[in-house]
């Protein structure tokens, strides 16, 4: 008797949970369907990782996009609707998300995604459908290469890798380096290669990279990789990758008694990373934006509004890039004078001297922005401004 009652109770609970989940999804879809019929609305699709390993990066970006949407809710007299889809930090899901945005939601332009691999998974689908995409922070060159519909508001990895190699050689006096890369992330592998090339050239030494070891996304044990690196005794370690894995990696490196500077890329600017490494020093990385060094009027405006909208949160590069992607989209729609995706694409391709929160954006033939890189380091448990590097 007891058994039966118990079973029924659990079954009921499950049914209730499913019904709730079902309602949530169903409701949202109905609302979107209603929007479809109204032609006085411009839809901007957003695909970002809101769950999974890159969740924090996607969340920061979406905060920036939503803020921009609140400030600038209209363009050409039409209301702008955001359609936000979670790509779950997975390549397959990223492709599905873009597919959904172009075929079901019929958006005019797409923004996304945090993570080069995710952007590269979605890119071809948007290209096929003829919908332009503005990347916020994917830095791998292959994202826009050969895709006339993909643009981005950030710098790219050949530049970022060179900046960090320069910093290691000139400021830190490094003669040898070790690389620890995530072989599943195009971002990590690409950035490592550009760093390696620049580092070898700067040190004039073909053997300047004393060790190159790999790991996989989601790994938690880095002890053997780090022991290998420690045995080679490099002057610096370059370890670009997701903030979650790298947080554990850097913490473990210090536990193993590795005291040399550890360098990374723009993905490290996340609370999750900071919370792991705040008791250590000599952690450096490149990023897109610094709150204490506004570059344009838009930077100041962005920061004021951000602090108002998200009190208690750190102003960050990803929020700023999300913000820029949105206002650039609006600017392109204004210049195109229509919401036709093809016209928006052509306007985007012609972007010149656009005042963004992260700097002045001019898009080149590939659709990439050429911008200043900021170098930050971890000091007293905080990210601190270390210097900036202008593009050549």
């Amino acid at each position: 008797m007891f058994k039966k009652k118990y079973f029924t109770l659990i079954a009921l609970l499950l049914v209730a949970a499913m019904a709730l989940a079902g309602c949530g999804g169903g409701g949202a879809e109905k609302k979107e369907a209603a929007k479809d019929s109204a032609s006085d609305v411009i839809k901007i699709g957003v695909f970002e990782p809101l769950t999974g390993t890159n969740a924090a990066g996607g969340e920061m970006t979406v905060e920036g996009i939503k803020l921009a949407n609140q400030l600038f809710p209209e363009v050409n007299g039409k209301k702008v609707e955001l359609v936000i889809v979670d790509n779950k930090s997975e390549k397959q899901e990223a492709a599905n998300a873009v597919e959904r945005l172009v075929s079901k939601d019929k958006v005019n332009v797409i923004i996304g995604s945090y993570g080069s691999s995710l952007s590269m998974a979605g890119g071809p689908i948007a290209k096929e459908a003829g919908i332009p995409v503005i990347g916020c922070s994917p830095t791998n060159p292959a994202v826009t290469l050969g895709n006339d519909y993909y643009f981005r508001v950030c710098f790219i990895d050949p530049f970022q890798g060179t900046v960090m190699a320069n910093y290691a050689v000139e400021k830190l006096g490094a003669k040898t380096a070790a690389i620890i890369q995530d072989v599943q992330q195009d971002y990590s592998v690409g950035l490592s290669n550009y760093f390696e090339k620049a580092f070898k050239k700067l040190t004039n030494n073909e053997n300047a990279i004393v060790a190159k070891v790999n790991y996989n996304t989601g790994d938690k044990d880095f002890s053997s990789q780090l022991t290998t690196v420690k045995a080679k005794n490099p002057d610096v370690i370059f370890a670009p990758g997701n903030f979650l894995e790298c947080g554990i990696l850097v913490e473990k490196a210090r536990e193993l008694g590795i005291t040399v500077p550890i360098l990374g890329g723009d993905t490290w600017e996340a609370e999750e990373f900071l919370s792991r490494v705040k008791n250590t020093k000599d952690i450096y990385f490149s990023t897109h934006f610094d709150a204490d060094h506004p570059v344009t009027e838009m930077s100041t405006k962005f920061m004021e509004e951000y602090k108002k909208a998200y009190p208690g949160k750190q102003v960050n590069a990803f929020g700023a890039l999300g913000f820029d992607a949105y206002i650039l989209a609006l600017d392109a729609i204004k210049r195109a004078g229509s919401a036709d995706p093809q016209a928006i694409r052509d306007a985007l391709a012609a972007t010149k001297d656009f005042q963004g929160a992260t700097g002045i954006i001019t898009l080149d033939a590939n659709g990439d922005a050429t911008k200043t890189a900021i170098i930050k380091k971890v000091v007293d448990g905080k990210f601190a401004y270390e210097g900036k590097v202008e593009p050549k």
């Binding site: 058994k3 969340e59 790991y215 045995a231 999750e272 792991r276």
Partner: protein
Amino acid sequence: MTGEIFLQNLANGISLGSLYALIAIGYTMVYGILRLINFAHADLLMVAAYVAFYGILVFTLPWWLSFLIAIVVTAILGVSIEKVAYRPLRDAPRISVLISAIGVSFLLENLGIVAIGARPKSFPRPEDIVWNINIGDISFLSLTIIIPLITVILLVAVTYMVNKTKIGTAMRAVSRDFETASLMAVDVNKVVSATFVVGSSLAAVGGIMWSLQYPQIDPLMGVFPGLKCFIAAVMGGIGSIPGAMLGGFILGMGEVFLVAFMPELSGYRDAFAFVILIFILLFKPTGILGENVVEKV
């Protein structure tokens, strides 16, 4: 490779291997008695980690009390899962129970995502039990010593329980034949529940130790150790408790030394685990210490 680097790798290998062994013991024990691969085992590990996490950070309990509560909660959850998801299927084909176990695993993971959120949380490391040890150039966490100790103690305790105590005898009887055992006045339901209490507690200890060693917890954290420890258990001979320990150590050591000797292959660590599994099963289909069970007709 110098001596020091070798010793450092050895310390890394022991620390990873003993964690694998600890979790694999739980898998193998439940299998040994019920012939059921409890896929939810890996997710019980996650539940334990979260209970301990909230105990320490939200309710500010002392770490040992939080760990104790985590073990009790996980044991209760394990027994309830058996009652709800496995017991009604006891007379069904074995594959149905297996599918039910996979279902429970997905349910726990996704409930975790909905209830807690997918963003990882930082697991606190109590200073009383986690500190850094430096011997010359070799440095490791105190956990590298604590975890193998706990693993060995639990191994001896579980082996003693199964072989020497009354409930252990009943477990072995049940593992041979449910019906005959119940005809011999063994309360099968009670014995199965006891098995799950022990198995889930082992999962809880494993989960807490895993979170101390890799202090980042998320609702899907059990998937990776679950898979690896399942491999370890199969490698050692599923159903054999010392086998699970052996399998765990072989896997942990193997992974660490693969990277140590061949750094360029370090991206293939997981592939390596499966390759050794395939080789061992090719030559010894029941695993290293597995017995050949002759099915009665």
